[in-house]
Structures are given as C-alpha cells and as structure tokens.
C-alpha cells in the first residue's frame, strides 16, 4: 500500500518532467502523427506506380494491346524505348521492369508457336520485383488469352484458382504499414525515453537523492514504467484513432480497448528493457550507441516489415525472445482480424513473461550500479 502510493507519486513527478520538456513532447507528437502518415501514405509494398518500359520490336496489334493493358494505378504509363537504351536506363534505376516483345511475335503467337516475351526485372528491390513480375505475367497472359480467343480459339486452362484476401480485400499495404508504424514507433520511443530518463536522473544527481529516501529501487523503476508507458500508450491509441482511422481513413475493425491493454503490457516490457540498457551505460553518448542496435532489431525484425517465417532458423528462434515479435503478432490479430483475448492471450502472456525477466534484470543492475559514483 505504502509502496503503491510512492509509485503513484513518483510517476506523477515523471509526468511533470515530460510535460516541461517541449522538445520531447514535440518529437513524440511528430512520431505518432507525421511519421506514421508519411510512411503509410508514401510507401507501397504492393505493385503501385511501377515504372515500366517496353522494347517493342514487333510493332503489331498485340504489342500495342499489351502496352495499353499496363494501367495506372499499378503502373506508370509505359515508355517505349529502344533496345540500346534498356541497359543504361535499368542501371540508373529509371525502370523496374522492361518488357521485350521480339519481332514476329504476333505471327508466331497466332501460328501457335508459343513465342516468348522477355521481362527484365530490377531485382534489387525485392518486394516490387517479385510481386510485379507476377502481376505483369498475369496481365500479359490475360491479354494474350483474349487476343487468341477473339481469333476464335478456346482458352487452354482446364481449371482456375481464385484467390481472395480476408481482412484487407485489396491487399492495400497502407493498411498494414500504418499500424505497423504505430507499433514500431512505440518500441523506439519507449526504449529511448525510459533509458534516457534514468541516465538523466543520474547525470543530474537526482537519483542519489531518491536513493536516500525511504524508497525501494523497484518503486523508482515502476514509477518510471507506468508514467512513460501511460504517455506512449495514450499517444499510440490517439494515433490509431485520429491518424490511422481518421486522417488515413483505414478501417481498423478490431477493438481499440483490447489493443490498448496489450500495448500497456508491451510498454512494461520495453520500458524495462530501456532501463536495463541504461544501467549498462555510464553516459548519454554510450546509451545512445547501445540503444541503436536494440531498437533497430526490434523495429525491423519483429514481423512488422518482413514476415517472421522468412528468417533463417536461428534468428527466427532468437526473435521469439523479443517482446516486439509477440506484440506485433498480437496487434495484427487484434486490429486487422478482430481477434479477441481468447485468441491472443498466448502472445500477451509471452510479452508479460519477457517483460518480467527484463524488469528483474533491470532491477538487479539498477541496485548494483545506481548508488556508485
């Protein structure tokens, strides 16, 4: 009871400190508004605005139909270039795809000789290259089928597969990225905010003052966790409601309340991690350098950017110990698929368990390192 009172009061103090630092507040605001908006709105993982060029050596009816079939918003208007222009243009990165229609293509097609169209792909951009290739193949294929059908012949496929996507029917990456930005930013902010708050107390000597009072280190730590956590969870929830649903107009079907609860548990884990890192660094510059690898890994490798299944086995296993992995999986289930607690409790439990380990380690280090010097 006494401890709870102390934790509460120290946390209120923490909130005052935050409110008095306009630069920090400004950066938190920026992170949950502008940064979420630009990434979600600007970046596409699906094929959109792809730059295509065509080397048309056939100049036939079918070749102009193919050119006409590559439509916005998936493609920028295709440019017709010569075969000499192709290599330098691809080297410069002007086009991601170049289709080469050989001369005599239409003739061979109608003669049933199964001619080939070559598709040059800039494979340095993995997402676009893979998906775009399949798109172009499908579009060209469809166009050819129609052309051949008009010529009086039957389609040759004996059966078809029809794929539909649940939860995001058009597979718009904007939906995915917006929420993943929110969760990723929660990670970066919490690690830095809580860790830097500890280093600042030490550099200003205020931690020493707290340690001579009838307070336990765990009370000081938990106060930091709840106060910083509250600010970030509120910012994240507001961002979800106002920026993601409001400004970006993305229908988030899941329960914001369940998300907020999960975010609270997650915050406990990542702020503990931040405090733990702070106990390994003596100065702010050291902390900054130590924090980078940690939040980059959490931000990029928790399944919010590329699927977890794609990672090499050791890394995949390793990332199971990251709270961000479970939280990302939790957020995707709750927010997109509308899953309830009955479906996601395992992820939550994992986050809480990992958080408890971080918290215990942080406390151990905190006791050992804070009093000296």
């Amino acid at each position: 009871m006494r401890a709870l009172g102390n934790i509460f009061r120290l946390g209120v103090k923490e909130l005052y400190s935050l409110a008095r630092d306009p630069v920090l507040m400004g950066l938190i605001l920026y992170t949950f508004t502008f940064a979420v908006f630009t990434v979600a709105n600007g970046v596409r993982t699906e094929v959109r605005n792809a730059a295509v060029a065509i080397v048309d050596e056939d100049r036939s009816g079918i070749s102009s139909r193919i050119i006409g079939a590559l439509l916005p918003p998936y493609f920028k208007p295709p440019r017709v270039i010569s075969s000499q222009e192709m290599n330098p243009a691809m080297d410069r990165g002007d086009y991601s795809f170049v289709l080469t229609i050989p001369s005599g293509f239409q003739r061979d097609l109608l003669a049933g000789k199964q001619p080939e169209i070559q598709l040059n792909v800039d494979a340095t951009a993995m997402t676009l290259a893979g998906n775009g290739t399949r798109y172009i193949q499908r579009i060209v294929q469809t166009e050819l089928e129609r052309f051949v059908a008009e010529d009086g012949r039957q389609s040759v496929l004996p059966a078809e597969i029809v794929s539909r996507a649940r939860f995001n029917p058009n597979l718009e990456s904007k939906w995915f990225l917006a929420v993943m930005q929110v969760t990723g930013n929660i990670t970066i902010l919490s690690v830095i905010l809580s860790g830097a708050a500890v280093i600042r107390e030490r550099e200003h000597g205020t931690i020493e003052h707290l340690l001579v009072m009838p307070l336990r280190p765990i009370e000081i730590m938990l106060a930091k966790i709840w106060a910083n956590g509250l600010v970030i969870v509120s910012a994240a929830v507001l961002s979800l409601v106002l920026v993601v649903r409001g400004v970006l107009g993305i229908p988030v079907p899941g329960s914001v309340a369940v998300f907020a609860m999960g975010a609270g548990v997650y915050l406990f884990a990542v702020t503990s991690l931040g405090i733990m890192l702070a106990t390994f660094a003596r100065t702010m510059p050291q902390f900054g350098l130590l924090a980078i690898p940690v939040f980059v890994v959490l931000y990029m490798l928790s399944g919010g950017m590329t699927p977890l299944e794609a990672m090499p086995e050791p890394l995949h296993t390793g990332m199971q110990f990251s709270p961000a992995t479970h939280f990302t999986s939790f957020a995707q289930a709750v927010l997109y698929r509308g899953a309830g607690l009955d479906l996601v409790w395992r992820d939550l439990l994992a986050v809480a368990a990992i958080g408890a380990v971080f918290c215990a380690l942080a406390l151990y280090r905190f006791r050992r390192t804070m009093s000296v010097g």
């Binding site: 600007g42 001619p115 997402t127 078809e160 702010m284 479906l343």
Partner: protein, 904 residues
C-alpha cells in the same frame, strides 16, 4: 580612445528572460592591477566577467576591453589571444579524461603554438605550479585545488594581457587557496602589465586586491581599494564593510551568528564510523576512517575536494557500501535495504539534486508525500517550511530560475522536512554569499540546540568550521585530527583555525610545493588566416584522445553495426518459406488429393490440420493459425475431367500484405504446375497451357535472394545512424558540461571547431565501413562488381554528411536527450522507408519521394547497390557523389549558422 590596457563599461544592461542580471552598469577599471568583484550570488558578477571576456553577447551598452569595442567581431578576433578566461566551477573548462599535460597542450595548440614552443611552455608552467609530478594524471582525478591550478596553466599558456578569473577558489581547501594566490602574485611580478579581474566569495581574499568593485542586484554599490571601502563604512573587516554597504532591507535581520553551548546531559552516540574504507579499483578514496558523533552535536568535516568527505558521507547514508569497516546510525548498522532508518536521516548532497522541472512547492510536497506524512500534516509542514526558510515568495517558481543561495535553502528545507533526528550535509554553503550563509547557520544552530538534531556537515569556510562543536580535518582519505576548534588550534599552537589546518596538511605532505613562474616570452599570433589547419588539428586531436579513452563507446560504435549487419542482413527477407495453410477438401476425389499433395510436398508451404467445414476458414484465419486456406468444392474432380473448368478457392490472411501477396503468387504457381502434371499424366505430353510465355530475367540478383539485395542497404543504414549519433551528442554535451566555454573564449573560427570535432568520427566511421565491407564480402558472399573507388569515395562523402548532420542536431538542441531522440527518430524513419532499401524510390508518391531525396541515404543506397549488385562504373554513379558532397556543404553551413560563438 579608451586606455589601451584598461577597461571601460558604459551603461551596460543584461537580462535572461524576465531576470535582470545587470542594470545600467558603468565602470572604469585601471590596467595592470588586481581587481576584485565582490557580492552575493546572482548579482551579476559572472555575467559581467563573461561580457568582458567576450564569451557573452552584449545586449545593451558599451564594453571596451584592450582598446576596442567588444561588440565588434574584428576587435574580438584580435582581443581573444590577449585574454584568458577561467569560468566558474572546478575545472569546468578542462577535459576530465585528458591528462594534465594533454589539457595544457590542447590550449597551446588552440593558440597556434609550435611543438617546441609548446613543450617549453608546458614544462615551465607545470613546474611553476607544482603540477609537474602529476603531468600524466587525468584531469578528472585531480583534487579541486589542483584542478584550479591546471585551469590557470591553461589560461596562462598564451601570455595574456588580461586574466579573468570567475570564483577560482570556491570549493578549494585553504592551503590550495593560499598557494593559488601566491602563484598569481609571482606571475604578476614577472608580468607587471597584466590585469587580473577576479570574482570571489571569500572576503579574506579580497583584502589582498588592489581595487574592489562591490556589487548587488545587478548594480555597482561601491568601488575603491579595500582600505577605502572599510574606512568609508567604518568597519574593521571587509566582510562587515560589505554587509554595511548593502541596502537597509537586505541587512535587516542580519546579526552575528553565535553558538550557544550544548546541553551535554545526553551523550548517546548518534553516528559511529569504525574503520570505514572505500576503494574504487586500485584507488583508495577513504582509508580506515573512524569517529563518533554525539546526539545533538554539530560535527564539521574539513578537507580538500577529492579527499574522501563526500564518499564518507555516502557510506553513512547507505548510498555506498563500504569495502571495509562499519557505520552505525543510532546504534544500528547502516543497511541499504532498511527503509526505517532513512526516515530518521536527512541528506543534502553537494550538487543540487532536486527536480528542476517541479516548482519549489511541488518539490516540498513530493517529498512530504514520499515520507508518508498524513495529508493534513503535509500541508501544515510545507507551509511551515516555506515560511521558516523564507521561500514563500518563490513557492511557485522553478528552482532552475533561482539563485544558488535560495536553491540551497530549498535543499535544506527538503532535508529537514520529515523532521529527521540527524542531518548529513555535504558542503551546503559552497557558493553561497556571506549573508545567506549566516542565515543558514542560524537555522542549523536552532535545529541542533532546540530540537536536538545531530548535524554532520562538510565545509570549506573556516568561520563556519569555527562554529562547530567539533571538527575533523581530512586529507587523502584519512582523518588527520579530531577535536573542538579551540583544541585543534592549541595543539598546533596556531592563532587561527586556518593556520592549524594548513599546518596539519603540510605535515601530511600531500600538497605539492610551488616553484617559480615562467618569464614571459615571444608574441602570440592572433586568429589570422581563413582556416587554420593547426587549430582544426588541436580540436581533432583532443576529440580523438577522448574517444580512444572511452573504450565502451568505441566498442559500441564498432560492434553495434556488425551485430546489426548480421541480424538485419539475414533477417530482412522476402524469400518466404513455410507458409502455413489448411485445406478443406469437400470433393475427396483423386484430382483434389493430387493438388493438395502438390502443396504439401512444396517447401514453400507448411501444412496444418485440415478444416472440417466452411466456418473454420474464418476462425482459423482470425486466430492467425494459418496464412492460407484452400477450399476445393464438391465435384471438382468430375468437372475437371469433363472440361467444365472448375474453380479452386484460396483464402488469404490479408493482415500482413507482404506475406499475403507472396502466398498468392506461390499458390497460383503451385496450381499451374499441378495442372501441367495432370495433363502430362493423362496424355504423356507436356500440355500447352498458354499461347505464349513471359519469361522473367532477374537482373542484378539472378537467384533473386534477399541475402544479396538487403545487405548493401544495411551498410547504408549503419553508415548514417551510428555516425550521426556519435556527433549529435558532441557539442550539446560540451554545453551541458561547460567546456564549450573554450570555444567562446578562444581565437577560433566556428568551422575550425566543427571540422575538428567531426574528423575523428569520420575516421571511426570509415573503420566501421571497412569492417562492414569485409563482412559483406566474406559472410554474405557479395562481390564488388562495380567500381571500388566509387564505393569508397561515396562512403567518405556519406559519413562526412552523416557526421555533419549530427553536428547540425547538436548545435540546435539544448539537451542530450533531445539529441538522442532527434538522431534516432529523424534519421531512422526516412532511412529505412524512403531510401530505396526496402521499397523502390520510383514507387513512392511524390511528396514522400521528395522527403527521401532531401536526405543523404538515398544517394548512398544507389552507390551501394550500383557497386555490389549492378556492377556500375564511377561514370554511371557520380551524380550521387555530387549530391552527397552537396549535403556535406549544406550541413556545414547549417551547423555554422546554428552554433553560437557567444552565450546569450
């Protein structure tokens, strides 16, 4: 024309926000004399010195120094080399990790001295100040007195005509103080023309000056020789004379502090130290210290900085656990885990350790709450303390805006708030003016005599020590003597406590002897020329030495990127495998089973238990159990064979769009190959499934693996994030620590300072580049297919731009936290998302693309993939190099504009 060597101020005013620091000050000071500024804290002494030294920007009025106007940049440039400025605070302008010699050497380099000249001057200066034997000791490990002597060496290395000292002896023990002034006196006999202006809180020191300026509340009260001031007020001592000069309302209530005798019936032991010892590594800070303090006693602790006073106090409060020995409070062993004892002790640390972001009242309330006072008691106690410590007028002000004396009063109020039985006070009056100090002592005496509070206090002021019941002299971690002030004087046969203390110190032999100061030599060159490579080198060299000493930072800077290269280089992968799926086969024909076999035998897919009905599709997808659900309707096999073109449905989990797109591609491909297989089985010939084929050719990455495409991007990420973080803290840290003054006071151009600060980090980033390059080649099996020169050249320009961006952040922000935030968030988001590393730039929408193009990573990403993946020569890449060079210039310009060469 003002007197060439003298000083003239006319109607000078200065304010910080709402606070008026100087108000209409006019002053003429003679050349070649010892001038003293005396007055309480916060009256504008430091501001005045800053304006004279040219480190503060003049707001109003005219300041003439060394025959010119200090508002004129051209005059400042010629004046800086002739002025030496020592800021307030012990060793504040020194670099703690650099050795004594390296510190002096750095200042010599700043003033453009050659190697031989420097070596000679350093040897002489260190000899004359007695620092010679400690030349290799890091400045951070010197005692307070030695730090101040080192600061003086740094100030004197360029033979200044005007020496400005801002409270050089505050917090310094008596012996070191005496030696310091002897040193100054000897230097002045060698350089008679030199003017020395000193601000001081010690009136006994001011007695020895030629000319005094007494100040209060931003105004000059009086000027004259010490004798003149005393005779004008009719006082015997300067201290009394100063009090007499103060306006009546400030004098009110000030009277001589008297210590009533202690009631000695209660002789219980409150504090007992028994062989307390503290070692940090091989350094013994406190060496078997023992003493006993009785209840209600005022026990004084005297000794130089770094002699172990603070460490001893921390062991008593339980902040530090002793390496050896025991400490008992109220007969109980000090136990860090025991909270009850803490409620009986009040502690005040040497530096201000309350929350500057809370108001005075909030600070008091917070502590009242934390000490578990009842709500009614909290209110009463806070009101009582505001009254008693005279803080009611500033109750809603924040401590950072208050003068030091008031802040110390607040700290004491907090320390006594819970009515502890014991107070442990670490230099509570350091830097507090005489009137405020006396008021402070009256409070302490009342606590001791009326409430029976035991007080353990450390101080540098001898008149305070004389008020204690007993004192102990401490030196180099050991207690030299304990007794009443009278006993200690008698024991040494000394007339004053100060003499007694010095006698003890000299016996202990810890204090170095002083030699003879150096004669003046040569003329010092000014800040001539456009950019001086020598001065850039001075800054770069110092920064590099500091960096090399900080092994942890160095290790983090080099290992962090390598760890990340492994994790991100392998971890970011679009080559999806093991996609989970479940089937609902309502047909159960040979054909349907054949298709499902096709899926289950593929490495791309991982099969989960089949679904039992249509409702299961949604449930399983929602639970995240599967990514893909394949549904084969009844009659599929029949329809297929009869040519009715049946459909198979594939349901995807769209919550992760990247994975869903991949899964769709794979399942469609699997279906096509199933159809091909099927018809081959029937007819024995490869069927004609389409009339023509679109054959993809993956360029630059034939096998189409993420492990080739992503690592060049990770290189791009690492070479901007780490270097930016390295320099982003550089300048703001100097601002927080105080050594930025050296930039303000030295004849240096801003660009020289910036380039010097940047150079070591460029070098460090290039070392990191080489390590990462080796990893790309050896671990990831990439090959340099294009121009290696283009890559290396690009890397140099890129890390220069990155470190330059860090400098821009550092010049702009005011706190280290803000710098960390800015350099991680502002850098990370566009670097990952808008640089072309994961998503091609050509697909970004226009606004976002502009953001990407306004930041360096995009250009280095092109160079990196151009060289590793595309095999491009320099001719195809140089526009990116030009862009990066442009960023370097842009960031230098921005940093120069944002960096202030003077304080506000």
């Amino acid at each position: 024309m003002p007197d060439e060597a003298g000083l003239r101020l006319r109607r000078v005013s200065h304010r910080y926000g709402p606070i008026q620091a100087l108000e209409d000050v006019s002053l003429t000071l003679p050349a070649g004399q010892m001038v003293g500024l005396i007055g309480p804290d916060g009256v504008g002494k430091s501001t005045l010195l800053g304006l004279i030294a040219g480190v503060r920007k003049i707001q109003h009025g005219y300041v003439a120094v060394l025959g010119g106007d200090m508002a004129d940049p051209a005059h400042r440039a010629t004046a800086y080399p002739r002025i030496a400025y020592m800021p307030q605070g012990l060793g504040r302008n020194l670099y703690p990790t650099l050795s004594v010699r390296e510190n002096v050497d750095f200042f010599g380099r700043l003033f453009g001295q050659g190697a031989r000249e420097r070596a000679g001057r350093i040897a002489e200066l260190l000899d004359s100040t007695g620092l010679g034997p400690f030349a290799e000791r890091p400045a951070g490990k010197l005692s307070g007195g030695m730090k101040q002597k080192l600061s003086l060496c740094c100030a004197l290395i360029h033979d200044p005509d005007l020496l400005i000292l801002d409270e050089p002896t505050t917090g310094v023990d008596p012996l070191s103080r005496r030696q310091f002034w002897e040193l100054i006196a000897r230097i002045r006999t060698r350089r008679p023309g030199m003017t020395v202006i000193t601000a001081t809180a010690y009136m006994s020191e001011a007695e020895g000056f030629d000319h005094l300026v007494a100040m209060d509340a931003g105004r000059v009260l009086a000027t004259g020789t010490p004798g003149e001031l005393k005779s004008r007020t009719g006082c015997a001592t300067l201290e009394d004379a100063f009090v007499a000069l103060l306006p009546r309302e400030k004098r009110a209530g000030h009277r001589k502090v008297v210590l009533p005798p202690r009631d000695r019936t209660d002789r219980a032991i409150a504090i007992e130290a028994d062989g307390l010892t503290m070692r940090f590594g091989d350094f013994t800070a406190v060496d078997h210290v023992s003493f006993r303090i009785e209840r209600g006693e005022i026990f004084g602790f005297l000794g130089s900085n770094g002699c172990g006073k603070t460490t001893t106090m921390k062991m008593l409060t339980g902040l530090l656990t002793p390496s050896e020995g025991h400490a008992h409070l109220f007969g109980q062993e000090v136990d860090t885990a025991d909270l009850t004892i803490r409620g009986r002790v009040g502690y005040m640390s040497q530096s201000f350790s309350l929350y500057s972001e809370l108001s005075v009242r909030q600070n008091l309330s917070l502590h009242a709450q934390l000490f578990q006072l009842s709500p009614a008691r909290q209110r009463a106690r806070v009101a009582e303390l505001l009254e008693r410590f005279d803080l009611a007028d500033v109750a809603s002000a924040r401590p950072e805006s208050l003068p030091l004396g008031l802040r110390q009063r607040l700290q004491l109020a907090v320390a006594v708030l819970h009515e502890p039985e014991m107070l442990i006070l670490d230099e509570p009056t350091s830097g507090v003016d005489p009137v405020a100090r006396d008021a402070f002592w009256e409070l302490l005496i009342a606590l001791s005599r009326q409430d029976g509070v035991t007080i353990f206090i450390s101080t540098h002021f001898m008149n305070e020590a004389a008020r204690c019941d007993r004192i102990s002299f401490m030196h180099a971690g050991r207690v030299l003597a304990v007794g009443t002030p009278q006993e200690l004087c008698d024991m040494r046969g000394a007339g004053t406590l100060e003499d007694a203390f010095i006698a003890y110190l000299e016996d202990a032999g810890g204090q170095e002897d002083t030699g003879t100061p150096s004669p003046p030599q040569g003329v010092v060159p000014g800040a001539s020329g456009w950019l001086s490579p020598r001065r850039i080198w001075a800054f770069a060299r110092r920064e590099a030495v500091e960096l090399l000493r900080d092994r942890i930072r160095l290790a983090f800077a080099l290992l962090g990127p390598m760890v990340l290269m492994l994790a991100v280089g392998f971890g970011i992968s679009f080559d999806v495998k093991n996609l989970t799926y479940a089937a609902l086969d309502q047909d159960q024909s040979a054909e349907s089973r054949a298709f499902l076999r096709q899926l289950s035998s593929s490495t791309y897919f991982a099969e989960k238990p089949p679904m039992e009905n249509l409702a299961a599709i949604d449930r399983r997808l929602r639970a995240g159990d599967i990514t893909l659900a394949v549904v084969i309707a009844p009659g599929f096999g029949h329809d297929l064979l009869s040519g009715e073109r049946p459909e198979v449905a594939a349901w995807l989990d769209g919550s992760n769009t990247v994975r869903a797109e991949t899964a769709r591609g794979y399942v469609e491909a699997a279906f096509l190959s199933y159809l091909a297989e099927l018809s081959r089985g029937e007819s024995g010939t490869t069927p004609v499934l389409s009339s023509a084929r679109v054959v993809p050719r993956f360029r630059y990455n034939q096998s189409f693996e993420s492990a080739y495409a992503i690592p060049p991007g990770v290189l791009m990420m690492m070479l901007i994030m780490i270097p930016t973080m390295l320099t982003a803290l550089g300048i703001v840290r100097e601002k927080e620590m105080g050594s930025i003054t050296n930039l303000y006071a030295a004849p240096v151009r801003k660009l020289e300072f910036l380039l010097g600060k940047q150079a070591p980090y460029i070098l460090l980033a290039m070392v990191s580049f080489v390590l990462l390059l080796a990893m790309l080649l050896e671990v990831f099996g990439l090959r340099i297919q294009g121009s290696l020169g283009a890559l290396v050249g690009g890397a140099v320009l890129y890390v220069t731009a990155a470190t330059g961006f860090g400098l821009v952040i550092s010049s702009f922000v005011r706190s280290q936290i803000a710098a960390i935030f800015a350099s991680s968030i502002i850098v990370m988001i566009p670097t990952v998302n808008f640089s072309g590393m994961l998503y091609p730039v050509s697909t970004l929408d226009r606004g976002t693309r502009l953001i990407g193009e306004a930041f360096p990573p995009l250009y280095f990403q092109r160079i990196s993939t151009g060289v590793f993946n595309k095999g491009l020569p320099f001719e195809a890449l140089y526009p990116n190099h030009l862009a990066l060079a442009g960023f370097c210039v842009l960031f230098w310009v921005l940093a120069v504009v944002l960096l202030k060469k003077q304080e506000a």
